[in-house]
Amino acid sequence: MEFKTFVFYVVAAILVFAALRTITARNPVHAALFLVLAFFSMAAIWMLLQAEFLAIILIMVYVGAVMVLFLFVVMMLDIDIERLRHRFWSYLPLGAMIGLLMVAEMALVLSGTYFSAAALPGQTMPEGYSNTKELARLLYTDFVYPFELASVILLVGVIAAVMLTLRQRKDTKYQNPSEQLAVKRNDRVRLVKMATEKDLPAEPEVKEGGQ
């Protein structure tokens, strides 16, 4: 067996295990962490397929950003597993149907290429081939309009998310940094000039002996 194949099987086994634990773990935080492990294994498999750009972006975006925020939410929520399982049986038919649909779709996609694997382009890329450069060239030439469109849609999503969650509360106390910075010393401190000593009415001198 080639070493690459061996690596693939090890990583794939970890991926399947992590994916299974994601849906079977009792603790939601553990489930989220297993999902992170699944992303890692998936990135490794993509790396084996010489799609290094996608693999690294998967780690950067999903592991580095999305899952961190996801963990935030999961840790803050008080999730009661028992209550979630309460209506398990009534949801089962619907869930099973969606699952079967997904399996069927994947089977359709995979069977098309699986049986004609020989028709696929060769796995080995020429020396000096840069996945990243090739992808960038395609994105900014042939697919530049869909790409720009997608980014505009994302921007709309970002603004919408901010606007939906932005609640202006009347009783919030906040500081205005520019006002704070604009403060002059004279606004806050007033120096009062006064004599350090005051002459008291002359007292009768006391004669002291010794020093």
Partner: protein, 363 residues
């Protein structure tokens, strides 16, 4: 270098007349052995640096405060780091009741591991790099973004309120500044036209000033000065160093996510913080200060230049700590989101227009 060491092996085993016996199977594992040797050659100086950086920190800050600093253990207190690490090693590792033990141990490991993995793509001189990969910058960004898990996992696994709140606070700060750092690098990528880190350094050795023998004027920090400042300041915030060290605060949050840790598990967080500092100093020197390039043409390039630049930036880390008062938490977030990110976006636009204009200096 590789041939030299291989020759040494051959000479060594020939002393016993065993080379011909060993070579047939040794040649298969040699690439592995060679990689491990290079990894050790990077990690051992790094760990030593991590051990001695706190010593220098204490000394530098002490001199800035007109104190003496550690001077009891060994001459000039030079054995202080060894004493400290021995102490940490022999201390008991405590586990809080009802803490999630596996994740409790896993947290510090995840904090430290990315800080070490990132060194795989850091070039020390021309060709002196463990993995000279084309997507080096992406690899760095991906690996360093994992470090935040160490904090969030340890905060949650401690099963205690202060660590949890501290972890939330630290995580929010780190992911905010990661964005600014990544955007600062976008400008570097635009002018270098490459994601390969060694290539980014080589590009800084080109241009009119470099041809005149003044390579220092063609380094990235001059045309990209705002990006350099944003990158380095975000780096300080990313490593949770003063003046952005709100992760710890005796009067409010105690030691943040590290409250429940003791002994070696605490030491791992400590190691991670200083390893990250050294990494940020290296990256800032490589991306903006010309890496191993010498500032003037008549002096040869070499790793000592990188060492000098890194030492200066590390000194800046310590200098900041002795100089600036801490930021308030909402001001930290404001600086990251409302100041640095707009600066980055503007400067990316400026660089883009600049590169398309006739005044392009990066051709």
């Amino acid at each position: 270098m590789e041939a030299l060491i291989l020759n040494f092996f051959q000479w060594f085993w020939n002393l016993f007349g065993l080379w011909d016996v060993i070579w047939p199977w040794f040649q298969h594992i040699w690439p592995l052995v060679w990689s491990i040797m290079r990894i050790v050659a990077i990690l051992v100086p790094l760990i030593l640096g991590v051990a001695y950086l706190p010593y220098f920190e204490r000394k530098v800050i002490a001199y800035m405060h007109v104190r003496i600093g550690p001077n009891r253990v060994g001459p000039l207190g030079l054995l202080q780091p060894i004493a400290d690490s021995l102490k940490l090693m022999f201390k008991e590792v405590l586990f809080p009741a009802k803490a999630s033990t596996k994740l409790f141990i896993f947290g510090p490991i995840v904090a430290l591991a990315p800080a070490l993995i990132a060194w795989a793509v850091v070039p020390f001189a021309d060709g002196w790099v463990l993995a000279d990969i084309d997507a080096g910058v992406l690899f760095l960004l991906a690996v360093t973004s994992i470090g935040v898990y160490g904090i969030i996992i340890s905060g949650w696994a401690s099963n205690s309120k202060y660590p949890f709140l501290g972890a939330m606070r630290a995580t929010a700060q780190m992911i905010s500044y990661e964005i600014a750092m990544g955007m600062a690098l976008v400008a570097v990528l635009m002018v270098s036209n490459s994601l390969n880190i060694s290539e980014i350094v080589r590009v800084q050795d080109q241009g009119r000033f470099a041809d005149m023998g003044l390579s220092v004027l063609s380094w990235n920090f001059i045309p990209l000065l705002p990006m350099f400042l944003v990158y380095f300041i975000s780096g300080v915030a990313e490593t949770n160093r003063a003046p952005f060290d709100v992760v710890e605060g005796e009067s409010e949050i105690v030691a943040g996510h590290m409250v429940e840790y003791s002994g070696m598990t605490f030491a791992l967080f400590f190691l991670a913080e200083y390893a990250n500092m050294i990494l940020i100093a290296f990256l800032a020197s490589i991306f903006f200060l010309g890496g191993w390039l010498s500032p003037v043409g008549f002096l040869p390039d070499g790793h000592h230049w990188l060492a000098a630049k890194v030492s200066f930036l590390l000194f800046c880390f310590l200098w900041f700590r002795a100089t600036f008062p801490r930021y308030r938490y909402d001001q930290i977030m404001r600086l990251g989101w409302k100041v640095f990110i707009p600066i980055c976006i503007t400067w990316i636009l400026v660089v883009g227009v600049w590169m398309m204009s006739p005044f392009n200096i990066w051709k």
